[in-house]
Symmetry: C2
Subunit: 357 residues, 2 copies
DNA sequence: ATGAAAGCGCTAACAT
DNA sequence: ATGTTAGCGCTTTCAT
């Protein structure tokens, strides 16, 4: 169907079935011309201030705007005001399949919920390339976002030094940075896990770590060792394996772990996806969960409570963390005051993947 | 251990140590001044064209840019070029907790993967307000995005008529629109489900529909009726209930369904989350799945294969659909040619929630 | 080859 | 009260 358009200015319709002609959009200049008033009056009328405009004129402006199908160009406005009402979200790295990880999903959910309340939109950056880090930083500073949320940046990332002083930003998880950070109490959470395992009789405890280039991976590993030490338990190095925070990593590490002559009776996994992978490895090795092996995860991802056996886990409130990070960065943009960091409590959720020995 | 928690960010300590002064960013003008050349030369040097610049000068420009910590302002560039290299993603409505729905997650994953390859970023719009639809359309047209992907728009949404001819866009799921659409073959998928149920002996089949304001909800309901008719089976109206595509909706509808004196032996749910809700309702009513009730879902969400019993479902390749939509809209932006719609095949995945009667 | 200048659409300071 | 105009930082045409 051909929709004819009687808009302002040049409308060029080369209408070959599916060839779409984008119309020249009306601007405040067009409105001003039409009413024989100045652009500033139009601007003030449209924005309802800060300069007062007689109601009569204002109404006329609105009417003509409507008639001309006027749409304010926020790009032009941003160039002047230096505000885009957009917050950028920067994933760890442009990991493929980012959006299927529970960590990202949980944070993004909180971020979006809060963005809506705060009347902001959310720009998700892709294209991270460690070899062209400077270009990536350029992208982050190109004016599209007023502030940034860096999701669990890699420990070796230099981006933040370059970002410092250039744009308000906060980070999730990583508390090593000289920036406001939002995450859970990793060491407290890991202690909850190990305390529980010890309490139900486990003495031989292994760990499938996360990606150790990310602070959560490091922190949980360090906390794991501390927790064992606290209970005067030895850390058996062959029972401590690096995973990837992904199911595959948990599976691969799990196969290595379970093929050893002597096995732990319980394994703390750096997150639930790793735990899922370990469950699969256990299944393939004929190791029963939880009778032969207790498994505990981290995150309380939706799937952790759905699987059979349901995974005992350390819950962290990802959506609250995302929401807090979003509120904070918007505050930061508006006040230019760096917000306080926030650390959230974890909770032990005992389910079916762990049992007394 | 002491866990610090600083509550919601209502108040700010004015901590001078944390007061950040954003530096005035360098512009091409600064570079030009410094080298006593014109801004156009700087621009051409930086962009490596289209006008040739002697290598010697180019290097000087790059050196000064580096020295001044120059960051190109894409907002300014966009104002001229009318390209932001950003694609907007428009959720059905600014549903709270959007990011936890498998449909959104699956599509977004494909969208982000493809955005990275195509060197675009993704802007997620929030703030949909049906009562201020015009303002919302303004936002979509404010210049930040070159093109839009509308995720399963509500049937009654007027936004697309307003968007037509103003910006390249594609939609997911909804094939009623005068726009390129990307989705799965709903009627084929539903037929697979019903054919299978009939094949294993079911004759009394109910349906928990999705949100009927969304095309997938409508289409699957219509397809359900057709499929029953094809098999000369009656559609029992009290066994057809509206859900919401959410677990809660499936649960609520399920409770209503299961409390009826006569029950179906099998239920086709509009998506997996609904099916999950129905499973819970069945559990609470003492109805065994699949012995007393067969349940089949739609989507093949990650959780559908993880739960016990694993949900038999009709799989649709959400990430492929998202990827296709992303490719298409970028192509649309670049060529101004409306891309072709694509409909993806579904697949029947037989799992543990269905059994022969 | 390279500089000057005209915008892109808007806001807001400056004039009247 | 309202109009004029100078930018915001950039691209690109037009002049030289």
């Amino acid at each position: 169907m051909f929709i004819s358009y009687f808009g302002p200015l040049t409308s060029f319709s080369v209408n070959l079935a599916h060839t779409v002609s984008l119309q020249m959009a009306a601007t405040i200049k067009d409105i001003a011309k039409r009413l024989n008033i100045s652009v500033s009056t139009v601007s003030y009328a449209l924005n309802n201030g800060p300069r007062p405009v007689p109601e009569e004129i204002r109404e006329k402006v609105l009417a003509v705007a409507r008639e001309l199908n006027y749409r304010p160009n926020r790009i032009a406005r941003s160039l002047v005001t230096r505000r885009s009402h957009t917050i950028g979200v920067v994933p760890t790295e442009a990991s493929i399949n980012l959006a299927v990880t529970p960590y990202f999903q949980g944070l993004l959910n909180g971020i979006l919920n809060t963005a809506e309340i705060l009347e902001h939109d959310v720009l998700i950056y892709t294209r991270y390339d460690a070899e062209r880090a400077n270009e990536f930083v350029n992208t982050l500073l190109d004016g599209r976002a007023d502030g940034l949320i860096l999701l669990a940046p890699r420990i070796d990332s230099q981006a933040m030094e370059q970002l410092a002083g250039q744009i308000p930003f906060v980070v999730t998880s990583d508390e090593r940075r000289n920036a406001a950070h939002f995450g859970c109490d990793n060491s407290g959470g890991v202690r909850q896990a190990i305390d529980y395992l010890v309490q139900i009789g486990h003495r031989k405890i292994g760990h499938i770590a996360g990606d150790l280039r990310i602070s959560d991976g490091q922190d949980r590993l360090v906390a794991f060792r501390s927790a064992l030490a606290y209970h005067l338990l030895p850390a058996v190095e062959s029972w401590i394996l690096e995973g990837s925070f992904l199911c595959e990593g948990g599976y691969t590490a799990g196969m290595k772990l379970l093929k050893q002559p002597e096995r732990p009776t319980a394994v703390f996994c750096a997150n639930d996806d790793s735990a899922l992978g370990l469950v699969r490895a256990a299944w393939e090795c004929g190791v029963r969960v939880p009778q032969d092996l207790s498994i505990i995860g981290f995150d309380n991802s939706p799937i952790s409570s759905a699987v059979a056996p349901a995974i005992t886990t350390i819950g962290q409130p990802l959506d609250q963390i995302g929401a807090a990070a979003m509120s904070a960065v918007v505050q930061y943009v508006e006040t230019q005051q760096r917000p306080e960091s926030q650390t959230f409590h974890t909770e032990l959720l005992i389910r079916a993947s762990t049992a007394p020995i």
